[in-house]
Structure formats: C-alpha cells, structure tokens
C-alpha cells in the first residue's frame, strides 16, 4: 500500500468532512435565505464526498485490523489530517466565503488532476465530485465579489479572512520543487500534476476572481507569460508534513507551535 496514496485519500476525506461540517453550521445563518439553502446543499455535497472517500482507507490498508476500523468512520476517527483553517468553527460570514472560495476549490483541484488517475476508485469518484463542485465555485466567487463591492469594513473583513487561510491553502498542495519523477503521486499516475503544477492551476482559477473583485492578496499575473505568481514566499518553516497543516504562530513569540 502506498503511504502517499493513503495519506492523500485521508486528507481529502478529512478536509471534505470538516468543510461540510463548517458549511452546515451556517446553513441557517447566512445573510440571505437563498444563501442559507445553498449552504445546506453544499454541506450535503461535501459530507457525501467524504462518505464516499472514507471506505477507500480500508481497501488501501486491509491488514491494519481493528485499530483502523475505528479510524475509518469520522465519528470514531481520532487522527484527522484537517487543515488548521477548518479546525474551528467560522467566526463570521467572511470566513465561510473565504473557505468556500479558496479551500473548497483547492480540494477540487485534486479531483481535476485525478480524472485519469491510475487509482481507479479515485478516478471514478472524480467525475461526480466535479459536477457538484461547479455550483460551489459559482457561490464562492459570487459572494467574494459581493462582499468586496460593499467596500469599507465589509471588504476589509473578506480580505482579512482570505489572507488568514491563503498560506495554508497553498502549502496544502504539497512541497515545492518536486518533479514528475520525484513526486510520489505524479510518478505513479495517481494525479496528473506535481504540487507546483496544482498550485499554478489553482492560482489561475482563483486569481482572476480576486483581481476582478479588487481584493488585495499576494499574487500577480505575469505580463509576459500570463501565469499567476505569488508575490510572497510560503511559510514552509511552519508546515507540518505529517499532519498536512500549518502550525499556528504562538501569540507571544510569533514562532510556530
């Protein structure tokens, strides 16, 4: 069993599970009735995707025994590979929109890269996931533009919410500098892209929305190549490669904990 494949499936399932829970916490509290109903629908989608992924952990590690059984079901699972950004409930609506626009679309990029995956169960689930994720993408982009258009404190709030999860979302795609041979997922055909290529695809997707909305994030479009690039380096010193999340900064020293 490939550890890299097992870890990929685990972090996909865990992040979708927690994203669904965070969406569900807002399905009666969104600013409009329509947004609330759509949030509930998105929550159901994400939880359904997680439910479709968790059983694959058992097939990837069939000899792990009783200990793994408890770890398969989200209700009894104790070790989650969830991003820090999803570990706590959203404080406000801008946090919901930021997670929808950035984290949801990042998870979707994995399924885009898995449409011709050598791991057939992932390839088979990708088509359905991508169909349902189209609406999530429209929702996140629409609300980000809307909040930005309000200007003042509302625009500042959505910018701050996006900025809080920006680094972790980008790091989540995987280490920088791996090529097709050295990346365990690309070299086996599990995904059709390296972490750097996944990041580039994701930036190309969210960049135009952010710029069109006038939201100040550390990215730019290369005038010559048209590629979207980061203008700040990522905080790899805070990256926890085992749990696939960013370590929080300590409040007093500013160092990673």
């Amino acid at each position: 069993m490939s550890k890299a494949l097992f870890d990929l499936m685990a972090r996909l399932a865990d992040n979708k599970y927690y994203l669904g829970r965070r969406y569900a916490e807002w399905c009666s509290s969104a600013p409009t009735l329509e947004a609330s109903v759509a949030a509930a629908a998105m929550a159901q989608d994400e939880l359904g995707h997680a439910r479709a992924l968790y059983p694959l952990l058992r097939t990837l590690a069939p000899k792990a025994g009783v200990a793994l059984d408890a770890e398969i079901e989200p209700e009894t699972r104790t070790q989650f590979f969830t991003m820090m950004a999803l570990s706590e409930p959203f404080v406000g609506w801008p946090d919901f929109v930021a997670a929808n626009l950035l984290i949801d679309s990042a998870l979707t990029q994995i399924f885009v890269a898995a449409q011709t995956s050598s791991y057939e169960p992932l390839e088979g689930r990708s088509r359905k996931v991508l169909q349902e994720e189209r609406a999530h993408n429209v929702y996140g982009a629409g609300w980000a533009k809307r909040l930005a258009r309000e200007g003042g404190a509302i625009k500042a709030a959505i910018e701050a919410a996006l900025r809080r999860i920006w680094d972790e979302t980008l790091c989540w795609f995987g280490p920088e500098g791996l090529d097709t041979q050295s990346d365990p997922l690309a070299s086996t055909g599990t995904l059709d892209a390296t972490p750097d290529e996944l990041r580039a695809r994701w930036l190309a997707e969210v960049g135009p929305t952010l710029v069109a909305a006038g939201l100040a994030l550390p990215l730019r479009q290369n005038a010559t190549t048209g590629a979207w690039e980061l203008t700040e380096s990522l905080p790899w010193d805070r990256w926890d490669a085992d749990r696939y999340r960013l370590r929080a900064l300590t409040p007093t020293t500013g160092s990673a904990s």
């Binding site: 409009t32 329509e34 109903v37 609406a135 429209v138 629409g142 809307r146 909040l147 309000e150």
Partner: protein, 89 residues
C-alpha cells in the same frame, strides 16, 4: 393655534436611550429572478418561484438548491426586470 399630536415611538423602535433603533446596513439590494421549470417534455415552462441574486450564475445555483422538490427536466432563470409589459395589471 394648531395643536400637533405627539409622535409616539414604541419601545421596540428605540434603544435604551430612547433614540430610534440604529438600522444595520443591509448588503446591497439584489436583483429578483423568475425561476421557470418543467417536469416533462410535453409541459410548458412555467414559473415556479423567484430567487434574489446579483447575477445569473448565482441565481441558477440558488434556484437548483431551493426548488429541488421535483426532478425537473428543464429549469431556467430570467431577471424579472427583463420582462416587458404588454398589458399592464
């Protein structure tokens, strides 16, 4: 001399200071979209409801989420302000 009736402000309208309650700023007004759908090919498209959204893409997302009571074969959204009145009500 004309006597003006005192304007009473109900407790619900005032804060503790007796001043009118502060109105929270609403997000910008949204456009109203008519939702049209049909369940069978021999049925005409008919209006089944409305949604409010900034643009057609979001209106479509809302319409699919809210009006999911049937397995529609076709659904469309159109802005209400695109209607041209031929006979006024």
């Amino acid at each position: 001399m004309t006597k003006h009736a005192a304007t009473k402000i109900s407790p619900a309208q005032t804060g503790q200071t007796g001043q009118p309650a502060k109105q929270h700023k609403r997000l910008g007004t949204e456009r109203v979209w008519l939702v049209l759908a049909r369940r069978a090919y021999d049925e005409p498209l008919r209006q089944i409801g409305t949604v409010e959204a900034d643009d057609g893409d979001l209106a479509g997302v809302y319409a699919r989420s809210i009006y999911d009571e049937f397995a529609w074969i076709e659904m469309a959204v159109v802005p209400r302000d695109a209607l041209l009145t031929v006979i006024g009500a």
